[in-house]
C-alpha cells in the first residue's frame, strides 16, 4: 500500500494519453472452493467452462431482454470513453466503458449473431478463449457499476448490467471473486457483510449508549430485536464497526430519540448492503433482501427505514417491492409479501431512506439544531453513484440530490458545491464501489479516485472545504483509506447524519 502513489492531478481534465495494458496485471483475488461452494457455484474453473459460459450467456440474453439490446445497440460513438473514473485514473484503454463492454460484445457476436458466426473477423467477433475469459475477470472487476458512462450514452446502454452479466457468467463456471462472494457467504451465514455475530452487535450497541450518555447526558437508546417497534432500521454493518460510519449511526439514533419514534435494529437483518447485485446474481440478491422481510414480519414493524448505504438504497428503492413486497408491485400470490403489505403503514413511503425520514421531521418542525456546532466544518457533498443514478428520494424529481443537501444546510452554516460536472447524476464514483473495496485492488482504487480528488482539491483551495459528506458506507471506507494518499486527512470524510448528530438538540424539544 505504502508504495502506491496518487497519480498527479491533470492540468486540463481532458482524455488522457492511452497506456495499453497498464492494468492488465491488476486482478482481484479469485474465490476459493469453500467460498464458491457455499454460494452454490462450482469450486473452481470447470473443465467445460467454455460451453457452460456460452450457455449461461444464452440464458441471460433470454432472461434479460435489456442485455441483448445493450449487446446490439452500441454504435461505438465514443461518448462514454472518457467518462469512467477508472479509465481517467489508469489510462488503460480497456477501462473505457465501450472497450470493457466489447470484451463481452465480441463474444456475443461470435456465438449469437449470424455475421459473427459466418465472418467473425469482419465483425470483430472473438472466440471465448481462456485468455478472453481471464480478460473478462480482470476488467469486469475493474468496473464499479457506477453507471456514470450510461448517463452520457445516447442509447442509454446500462453498462453496469453488462458487468453484472459478465460476473454472473464467471461465477457460474467457477471463476468468482473472493471479496464479494466471501461477503455474500457471511450475510447468509451470520446476517451481515462483516460477520458480526449477535452478541458482538449487542456489546457494540450498549457501548454506544454509554458513549452518547457521556457526551450528552441523555439516554439515547440503540434498540435491537424489539417487537412492536414502529420503525425497523436496516443499515450497513459498517455502521456498527467502522469509522466514520458509526457517527452516522449515532445520528440516526438521535433523530429517532428527538422525534419520539420507537425503532429497532434486527440481529437477523443486520445488513443493508446487498452484494448479490454487485455479482449480478438474482437468487442471492433476493435471498439477501428476504431477510429484511423476515425481520419486518417477525418484529411486526410499521415502517422500514434504510441507513446511509448507496447500493442498499438502490436495491431498496428499485427492487425491494417486487423482491419482498415492501412497497407496491409484489406478486399477489406471494402470501408473505401480501402479509407485509398489510402490516406496513401505507401512509408512509415504504421503504424510506433515513434522509427522507430526517428531512420530513425537519419539515414538520420536530427537530431543531444548533448549527454552530458544525461551524468548524466547511462542507461539500459527494453524491454516491447508486443513490444518484439508481434511485430517488422524496416526491419530486432529483429528490435524491436535494434532500441530503437540504439536511446539511439545515444543520450547518458552511456549505459549498463541487464542480457541477462531477455532482448529482454526473457524480464520479469514489473508486471503491461495486465489489472493488478490497485491498487487492488498492492500486485501482487509488487511481480511480483521481477525478473526485481533483475537484475536491479545487474546493479545498478556493473555499477551504474541510469536510466531504456522503451517504454510502463504501464511499466512506474508500475515502478514509485513499484520501491520505492524496494528502488529505482521513477524517475529512463523514456521513450526513454525522453532521446531524453534531448539531441536533436532544431532550427539551
Amino acid at each position: 500500500m505504502a508504495d502506491i502513489a496518487a497519480p498527479a492531478y491533470r492540468v486540463i481534465p481532458i482524455i488522457p494519453a492511452l497506456k495499453p495494458g497498464a492494468m492488465e496485471g491488476v486482478k482481484s483475488f479469485v474465490a476459493n472452493d469453500k467460498i464458491q461452494e457455499a454460494l452454490g457455484f462450482p469450486g473452481h474453473l470447470v473443465e467445460d467452462w467454455h460451453d457452460r459460459a456460452i450457455a449461461k450467456m444464452g440464458e441471460l440474453l433470454g432472461k434479460y431482454r435489456s442485455l441483448k439490446v445493450y449487446m446490439d445497440a452500441c454504435v461505438h460513438c465514443g461518448a462514454c470513453s472518457d467518462k469512467c473514473h477508472y479509465f481517467i485514473g489508469t489510462q488503460d484503454p480497456k477501462n473505457m466503458p465501450v472497450a470493457r463492454q466489447d470484451l463481452m460484445r465480441s463474444v456475443y457476436r461470435r456465438y449469437f449473431t449470424l455475421p459473427g458466426k459466418l465472418f467473425p473477423k469482419l465483425v470483430g467477433a472473438r472466440d471465448l478463449t481462456r485468455e478472453v475469459l481471464d480478460e473478462w475477470y480482470t476488467y469486469f472487476y475493474q468496473c464499479s457499476e457506477c453507471r456514470r458512462c450510461s448517463v452520457f450514452c445516447p442509447y442509454g446502454i446500462d453498462t453496469a448490467e453488462v458487468t453484472m452479466a459478465a460476473r454472473e457468467i464467471l461465477a457460474s463456471v467457477g471463476y468468482g471473486q473472493k471479496y464479494s462472494n466471501e461477503i455474500i457467504g457471511k450475510v447468509h451465514k451470520i446476517g451481515n457483510n462483516l460477520g458480526l455475530p449477535g452478541p458482538a452487535l449487542l456489546d457494540t450497541l450498549q457501548g454506544l449508549e454509554e458513549d452518547v450518555k457521556e457526551d450528552t447526558g441523555i439516554d439515547v437508546r440503540f434498540p435491537i430485536d424489539v417487537k412492536g417497534a414502529e420503525v425497523l432500521l436496516i443499515t450497513p454493518s459498517a455502521d456498527f464497526f467502522a469509522e466514520p460510519h458509526i457517527d452516522s449511526l449515532i445520528g440516526y439514533a438521535k433523530v429517532f430519540h428527538a422525534t419520539g419514534t420507537s425503532w429497532t435494529l434486527s440481529s437477523m437483518a443486520s445488513e443493508a448492503g446487498n452484494f448479490g447485485m454487485f455479482v449480478g446474481n438474482y437468487e442471492h440478491l433476493r435471498k439477501i433482501a428476504m431477510r429484511i422481510r423476515e425481520a419486518a414480519l417477525e418484529l411486526g414493524v410499521k415502517r422500514i427505514v434504510i441507513g446511509e448505504c448507496g447500493h442498499a438504497w438502490r436495491v431498496a428503492y428499485s427492487f425491494l417491492n417486487t423482491l419482498t413486497g415492501a412497497g407496491d408491485g409484489a406478486d399477489a400470490n406471494d402470501q408473505f409479501a401480501m402479509l407485509l403489505q398489510k402490516q406496513l403503514d401505507q401512509r408512509y413511503k415504504q421503504p424510506m431512506h433515513i434522509c427522507e425520514f430526517t428531512w420530513d421531521m425537519i419539515g414538520k418542525g420536530a427537530l431543531s439544531f444548533d448549527k454552530e456546532a458544525n461551524d468548524k466544518h466547511i462542507i461539500t457533498f459527494h453524491d454516491s453513484c447508486n443513490v444518484a443514478r439508481g434511485s430517488r428520494m422524496g416526491d419530486f424529481a432529483g429528490g435524491q440530490f436535494e434532500i441530503p443537501r437540504n439536511i446539511i444546510k439545515a444543520v450547518a452554516n458552511n456549505y459549498v458545491e463541487m464542480s457541477p460536472e462531477t455532482t448529482r447524476e454526473r457524480t464520479f464514483c469514489c473508486g471503491g464501489g461495486g465489489g472493488l473495496l478490497t485491498d487487492d485492488l488498492i492500486e485501482l482504487r487509488v487511481k480511480g479516485a483521481l477525478p473526485r480528488m481533483e475537484v475536491l482539491q479545487q474546493v479545498v483551495d478556493e473555499h477551504g472545504v474541510n469536510f466531504m459528506a456522503t451517504i454510502c458506507a463504501i464511499c466512506k471506507a474508500q475515502f478514509t483509506k485513499i484520501m491520505p494518499i492524496y494528502g488529505f486527512d482521513r477524517r475529512m470524510v463523514g456521513g450526513v447524519h454525522q453532521l446531524v448528530s453534531n448539531a441536533i438538540r436532544l431532550g427539551a424539544k
Binding site: 457483510n193 457494540t204 457501548g207 460510519h245 458509526i246
Partner: protein, 111 residues
Amino acid sequence: MASIEVDGKAYETDEEGYLTNLADWNTEVANYIAKTENINMTDQHWEVVNFLREYFEEYQIAPAVRVLTKAIGKRFGAEKGTSEYLYGLFPYGPGKQACKIAGLPKPTGCI
C-alpha cells in the same frame, strides 16, 4: 494456499498473509507477521494485540474501532484511548493490521 515459515515450521495463510487457522498463532508467528508489516512490536503493540485476541475469543470477531479505542483507553490509560494513538501503532489501520498480527481473520465488508 500460501504459507509462511517461522522457526522451521510452516503455517498456512491466505493470499494476504492472514493466518488460516486461529490455533496456529503464537508470539513468534506474531513477531514474524509484524516484521512483514514493517512493525517493530513494543509493549504498546502487544497491549492491543492481546486485547484483540481476548475480544475475539469472546465474540468471534474483532472489535469495532470505537470499542477497541474505548477498551484500550480504559485499561491502559486515557491517552491511549484515541484512534490517533492506534493508527500511530498500526499505520495501515488498527482493524486490519493489528488483526493480522493477532492471527485473526481479516475483517472485510464496507470498511
